[in-house]
């Protein structure tokens, strides 16, 4: 890495804003932090006295907990606000709520929000670092980074790999961040799913579109299944979960089309038997739980880096 390089982002809003060098810095930092979580005393004093607010407008178990665990392992103080407990239900605007939080002088606000661009809106209006923990159908940068870390760990590198992402590409912020992130790091990304869930211009983001799942996973080193959001069933996007599982679910037959050592990923939570055969989720190729473990390390790295650590 360039010795003059310094990670200089105040906010983490999306992988679109990060250079390959930035991504490399996050991954290296995360790799060095990962060991902390395997100690018997899982805490370092690095961020003692720092205040981090988890501001979550959507239900989330994994991501919210992962950020909280990450912050606490670095000795930061964390506070959680969810939508139902916040004043937005009393009619306060997002910007007003954020300004009030900012007035309490936190060092970082981690935002999960159903509107695309919400993290950017916050970053534009308050003088506090913002980490986007998922905004609408835009980006989920920490997920993209933990996926990159997991692949690099399993495969020894990213450049030159083929990554197949299968499922609801249109509504998946995870897919968007991964397409951007893996492309930036030199991998080839192929996507497939019902054509109703492949958005216009996904090619411009760096993905190849395959008509069938088998075509997408052909020769793939990484197979990533995305969660099918059952709540989107009102919009006629595909006929039934049954048919989805049959034509777009990841089965042994699909895995057989990939490279022999291909790994299986899923951002969770899994609809077992819909997008992913349960046996595969628990099988030897699955790195789904490594993703969760690495999520903590990546989030430690992000919090550390935006607070000016070097």
């Amino acid at each position: 890495m360039d010795p003059e390089y310094r990670f200089s982002h105040k906010h983490i809003l999306g992988l679109a804003d990060l250079s390959p060098q930035d991504i490399e810095a996050v991954l290296q930092t995360a790799e060095s932090f990962k060991e902390i979580s395997s100690r018997s005393i899982k805490k370092v004093p690095t961020l003692r006295g720092k205040t981090i607010i988890n501001f979550f407008f959507e239900p989330s178990t994994r991501t919210r907990l992962s950020f909280e665990v990450a912050a606490k392992r670095m000795s930061a103080d964390t506070f959680n606000i969810s939508n139902s407990g916040s004043s937005t239900v009393k009619g306060e605007t997002l910007i007003d709520t954020a300004r009030n939080l900012a007035a309490m002088n936190p060092d970082c606000i981690i935002l999960r929000h159903p509107s695309s661009g919400a993290a950017r809106l916050l970053a534009d209006h308050i003088n506090v670092s913002v980490i986007n923990a998922g905004d609408g159908t835009h980006e989920h940068p920490s997920q993209g980074l933990l996926d990159l870390m997991t692949v690099r760990e399993a495969k020894g590198g990213i450049a030159g790999l083929k990554v197949a992402i299968i499922g609801d590409i249109a509504h998946s912020r995870v897919a968007h961040s991964n397409i951007i992130g893996f492309s930036k790091m030199g991998a080839t990304v192929a996507v497939s799913g019902p054509a109703t869930l492949i958005p216009p211009g996904i090619k411009d983001m760096g993905a190849q579109v395959s008509r069938t799942v088998l075509e997408a996973v052909d020769g793939a080193d990484v197979i990533m299944a995305l969660r099918i959001q059952k709540e989107r069933q009102q919009d006629p996007l595909f006929p039934s979960l049954r048919e989805y599982a049959k034509f777009f679910g990841i089965s042994q037959k699909v895995v057989d089309a990939a490279t022999p050592e291909a790994i299986i990923m899923h951002p969770g939570p899994i609809n077992r038997g819909v997008e992913l055969d349960p046996k595969l989720a628990d099988g030897r190729r699955s790195v789904i739980l490594e993703q969760v473990t690495n999520g903590v390390a990546v989030r430690m790295a992000l919090i550390y880096l935006i607070m000016g650590g070097d």
Binding site: L94, I95, T137, H138, R173, D204
Partner: protein
């Protein structure tokens, strides 16, 4: 105004009378008394303006504005909206019915007209709703709306989804000599979309509104107009294919007229990048190809009018999450410079600009204006095509500030606006 007003040495652009020459114009008792060779008229005891280098045109008519009163006076009132109109060179506006309550009955129409008369800044032509409450179910009382002063009907903002209702509206509007204006949008395709559908929407994670959502309904309404033999006006056309459909219908002799707004010939969807809610509108900003098609259609006559779709919104409506932000921008005070930009680029000639902003809207709505004929009412705009200014929040006369053109260096401005012989807007100019 006992002594009247004399406008000396202006470039008189009066397409209705085939005039594009330097003339003096004399206004007496609210009407145009004379249009004559420079120096041949006396100002008598009245006001005399030397408007050398300025354009003297029939007062501009914006056939598509939202004045928000009654109901959303925090965004705009009839007084502030008509002041913005006067500042933009407009002497008349057609007020869309999506007020609160909806203008679906004579009481609201009468109220709007009374407020407009009180303000005295521009003529306001109320447009009634097609359906009661714009709910898309039952026809509103067109007869009484007409009697009270409405000039057209539309469910603008809430498109008529039911084709049978649209057919009946076209038929019944004939009894009352009302124009039907179509807001063409297939809601099942556009549902909760926030910008033009395409790669940029995908990248921003915003739900897209495909151009076909407009085109399908443009086609439907052209077909219904042809079928019923009744005229239809298509509002705020934004796509290339909509224009192709309108062009073909005109060739077939269908009684269709159409308008676009300055933003559709000035901006593309890239204006929303970065989640800029000031560029969020419906129909959404489209692509380069659409902008080019709109410009061409203005020139070749496929489009008949430029209307602003002036849509004031408060800060709270705009300064928020993109998908939850309100649609629309203010437009009255930027229409002239943005249209003049096309003239400067030789995409339109000056005469055509006056047709699009005054002559044709008057004809389409069936209202007076659009002419500087001797004896006509003195609705006049004096435009300085050279005047340069930066469009700032402080300069805005509208109650709202929601414009994507804030901070733009613009050229061309109405410097004197006269409605019924009275000065409704005046700013300093040099001659």
């Amino acid at each position: 105004m006992p002594g009247g007003i004399l406008l000396k040495n202006g470039r008189v652009l009066d397409p209705a009378n085939g005039i594009d020459q330097v003339r003096d114009v004399l206004i007496v008792e609210g009407r145009i008394r004379a249009v004559a060779q420079p120096g041949s008229l006396s100002g008598q005891d009245g006001l005399v303006y030397d408007v050398t280098g300025k354009w003297v045109v029939p007062g501009l008519i914006d056939m598509h504005v939202h004045l928000r009163e009654p109901g959303q006076e925090y965004k705009e009132t009839i007084e502030t909206g008509t002041r913005a109109a006067a500042a933009g060179g407009f002497t008349a506006v057609a007020a869309m019915p999506n007020t609160k309550p909806v203008n679906d009955n004579q009481a609201v129409t009468v109220f709007i007209l009374a407020k407009a008369a009180e303000a005295g800044l521009a003529r306001v032509y109320p447009v009634g709703a097609i359906s009661s409450g714009s709910s898309g179910e039952h026809l509103a009382e067109f007869g009484e709306l007409r009697q009270a002063g409405a000039v057209a009907v539309t469910d603008d903002g809430l498109p008529v989804g039911n084709s049978q209702l649209m057919r009946r509206a076209l038929e019944y509007a004939g009894n009352h000599d009302l124009l039907v204006i179509s807001h063409a949008e297939d809601l099942s395709l556009s549902q909760s979309g926030a910008m033009n559908d395409g790669p940029l929407a995908t990248r921003l994670g915003l739900r897209g509104i495909p151009h076909v959502a407009e085109e399908i309904m443009v086609y439907r309404d052209l077909a219904l107009a042809e079928f019923t033999g009744r005229p239809i006006h298509i509002a705020h056309v934004s796509t290339r294919e909509s224009l192709a459909l309108i062009r073909r219908a005109k060739e077939k002799g269908v009684a269709v007229t159409a308008e676009t707004a300055p933003h559709y010939f000035t901006l593309t969807e890239t204006a929303v990048d970065g989640y800029n809610t000031l560029a969020k509108m419906n129909p959404p900003l489209r692509t380069e190809a659409d902008v080019a098609a709109v410009r061409e259609a203005l020139r070749d006559g496929t489009l008949d009018a430029i209307a602003t779709d002036h849509a004031p919104h408060g800060e709270l409506d705009k300064d928020r999450e993109f998908d939850l932000a309100a649609n629309g921008i203010i437009g009255l005070e930027t229409a002239v410079p943005l249209t003049l930009q096309l003239v400067r680029e030789n995409r339109l000639d000056a005469r055509r600009m006056v047709e699009l902003l005054s002559v044709n809207p008057a004809r389409i709505l069936g209202v007076p204006g659009g002419t500087l004929s001797v004896g006509a009412m003195a609705d006049i705009a004096v435009i300085d095509p050279e005047k340069k200014f930066v469009f700032t929040e402080e300069s805005i006369q509208s109650k709202s500030r929601n414009s994507p053109f804030l901070g733009w260096q613009l050229q061309g401005k109405a410097v004197l606006t006269i409605m019924a012989g009275r000065i409704t807007w005046q700013e300093s100019f040099s001659s």
